[in-house]
Amino acid sequence: MTRVGVVVFPGSNCEYDAASAMGMLGATAELVWHSTTDLTGYDAIILPGGFAHGDYLRPGALARFSPVMEAVGRFANDGGAVLGICNGFQVLTEAGLLPGALQKNRGLTFLCQPTTLIVTSQASVLTSQATLDQELVIPINHFSGAYTCDDATYDELVANDRIVLTYKDNPNGSRGDIAGIANERGNVVGLMPHPERAMSTLLGSDDGQVLLKSFLTAPVASLAL
């Protein structure tokens, strides 16, 4: 059975939600405290949403220095599947594991609302099982979700099919409507929307399942890379 490590920084708050979503899909999820330096034994790693270190200074700015992040970096370099959701995405960009940065929303307010995402690439551990141009209804829940990067980076993302999810109706001013991106190998993915909040129609949508199912089959896939 797939063993997923869900990293917990002080101030994280979506760790239980991420873990329960993994459980729903038949994986075992374990909470990994941010002081951990060794991630061997895990098949995949999730950096969950929340406010690591209170989001003080900048979202992810202090979390990137937590001991666990070096281990996450090694795990990623070895081809392991790493998923950063919301605050986790912000941490991954601050840590340099994904390019660009996430700025305050265009409207300068926090936004918690459903959004319609478009699958724009299957070349990632998060979208491998989704179909191209598929529309997914998944909520966002952030203050700083406007993806920003320089032209060179943007062209590189486009050229290498690394923009994996875009907003149908851009809520926050993200460059190129970007909702999620992957690294070159596609084994590290960050997205602002919360697939773990879209696992059941009782709560409004189960469109997040296809993404997290892809992610769980990733360990195999990423070895193949």
Partner: protein, 86 residues
Amino acid sequence: MNYSVIVDVSLRQGIADPEGATIERALPALGFYGVTDVKAGKSFRMMIDADSEAEALERATALAERLLSNPVIEDATARLSGVHAS
């Protein structure tokens, strides 16, 4: 010696500044005219224990670049603040 240092962090040229833009839009309604190019930034004050101004500045600059700013979108500069010197 204890030096009082200020690190100014501002958005890099060409990076969108919705905060500054919003303030600028609001100004005329409040009776402030002829104010343009409003840019929102951050500043951090701190005391640094160092042997010389040069060392204090050097360490403040390192801190500013490694931690207090995100080079992807921000510029940071450190300065000694005469005012708050202790």
